[in-house]
């Protein structure tokens, strides 16, 4: 991209219309950044603001009473570190497995001559819109022996149909000459897939990896359903949900909690759900957000095709 732009410059000065377009474009994108950065900054500010003070509202992008107490409260949980490790593990294993398996199936259904092509495609697509329901799914997982197991994070979501179809579209969009030449070389399907298709698909695989990684990282419902009684398999998001729930409950304890808690001291609120929610948003999303900038290099235009041709 940069290279192309460079060439342009050498060739001739930009036309007026082009420049106007650029100004408008940069202005618009800057505005967009302001609007999309706000919620994050706001959440960050709340997370760094005194919980008690935050109740009053009116925090925008800058904390009024700085504190790290919210983070201390959230991250002090003994379980957080281990849960984070499980999250990382499931994200890494889950992403690798999903990307690889999805790509493989996608490759087969991109082959027009494959006799099972239509059958496989339709069989997958249908599952996007059907669901047996919560309890049958639960019973299945139980019967497969996946309750209280790490693998319950990986198996059920191994292939996402959405990912599958996207990858297929990409493979179909590859210049056929490339596959053709490989075939003339006498390359088998495996070689074709591993050595030609996979490397050419880097941008889409990066995309799918991002989608899957974010999904895996954010997932807590499966922990809730299947592994809630096994702290060793708990994930970061689930532990954070626990902390949030805890602060919710202790706040509006319908129970007599108050009669014991206040016990004379009218302690101001150490934590509030409002602040905890903001803090856990930041704590949980920062690590995964960092992934994107690293993946972006795979989205540089023209890399794939140009690379092969060159």
């Amino acid at each position: 991209m940069a290279e192309v732009a460079g060439k342009n410059k050498k060739r001739r000065p930009m036309a007026l219309g082009d420049r106007l377009f650029d100004y408008a474009n940069y202005t618009f994108l800057t505005l967009l950044m302001v609007v999309t950065l706000y919620p994050f900054l706001n959440t960050l500010a709340v997370s760094l603001n005194d919980a008690n003070d935050s109740i009053k509202g009116g925090i925008y992008v800058w904390p009024r009473e700085w504190t790290l107490d919210n983070y201390k409260y959230v991250l002090a949980e003994a379980t957080i570190f281990h849960a984070t490790m499980i999250s990382v593990l499931r994200t890494v294993i889950g992403t690798v497995a999903t990307v690889f398996c999805s790509a493989m199936v996608a490759y087969t259904i991109s082959r027009q001559e494959f006799v099972l092509r239509k059958f496989v495609t339709v069989a997958f697509i249908l599952t996007m819109y059907i669901n047996g329901g919560l309890i049958p799914n639960f019973l299945l997982i139980r019967d497969l022996g996946l309750i209280d197991s790490f693998w319950v994070y990986i198996w059920p979501g191994l292939i996402g149909v959405f990912n599958l179809i996207i990858i297929r579209s990409f493979i179909e969009g590859l210049p056929e000459s490339i596959l053709e030449s490989a075939r003339i070389d006498g390359a088998g399907e495996y070689r074709n897939f591993f050595h030609i298709v996979l490397p050419l698909c880097t941008p889409v695989l990066a995309t799918v990896a991002l989608f899957t990684g974010v999904y895996q990282w954010n997932q807590w419902f499966d922990v809730f359903l299947y592994n809630s009684s096994n702290i060793d398999l708990s994930t970061l998001q689930y532990e954070l949900q626990k902390i949030l729930q805890n602060s919710n409950a202790s706040m509006s304890a319908k129970s007599a909690g108050d009669a014991f808690a206040s016990a004379g001291s009218q302690d101001a609120n150490a934590v509030t759900p409002f602040s905890i929610r903001a803090t856990m948003t930041i704590a949980a999303s920062l690590p995964i957000i960092m992934v994107y900038p690293f993946l972006q290099k795979y989205f540089v235009k023209g890399m794939t095709v140009g690379g092969v041709k060159g």
Binding site: R11, T108, E189, R277, S285, V300, G302
Partner: protein, 322 residues
Amino acid sequence: MENNTAGIPATGAIAKKPAGMARFFKLLLQQRALVVMSVPFLIWLFIFKYMPMWGWTIAFQKYKPALGFWEQEWAGLTHFRFLFEDERFIRVLRNTLAMSGINLVLGFVTAIALALLLNEVRKVMFKRVVQTVSYLPHFISWVVAAGIIQSTLSPDGIINELLMKAGFIKEGVLFLGIPEYFWTIFGAGTVWKDVGWNTIVYLAAMTMIDPAQYEAAEMDGAGRFKRMWHITLPGIKPVIVVLLIMNIGYLMESGFEPQYLLGNGMNVDYSENLDIFVLKYGIAQSNFSLSIAAGMFKTVVSFILLFVANNVSKRLGEARLY
């Protein structure tokens, strides 16, 4: 192995099938590599996605989780009747379709537009920063996002303040209290939250476009818009079409959290969708049967929509889903 032309309707084995089963198995043997690469996943698919489908029978039962399958009391179409005969059903369905329709159109248009604009940015750093920042709201949960929307739109929120300063209104407007505004707020909120995220796939698609095409176009003196229109857009069209078809199949899924969180007594006529209805009368009352009945209804509609969309696309000679 003779044909791998993308985009051209299958002319391969299935289309020919002159010798029936024998030929089919012969081809299967020939393509055993592809079989090995896909069939294990078919088994996976069957176990994890199709086996739980027995659960659909629950829709016809007065389901009690404590009882085994044969001990359940059958209820016939009671749950479907409850769903369809409720006077709110039409309204709830309307809201569902309206909001998912808005989502679909706005979601596609804005994401593609943003991808196109980003594609025109020449400063790599700037482009990367915009990409990263615009995808941030995706990581804010709806609870937090809804809170921000609510305070922004409150009578003393920034929107009202700006409008008052500009002299358009005299006193704060209860935006979330005006039912007719709800869809707009919902649509804007969803775009704001997900436009950056939705853009990613198109940006990835654009990497497939051969830079030589742009160079050639430039030589011919094609301007920015022309290049966008004649090179970039056609380049990502197959991805757009396939995503579009898939999402048309999802028209019954309009989301749940934003409507639930932004909904209130004043806008309920426009905010309540099928999922919320099912939550109130199904899940919240441990009525698993009703949830499944509603799910089946959604599935049927999805299949019809999917079939129609795919066929239309086929007729138009565009990419197909299957």
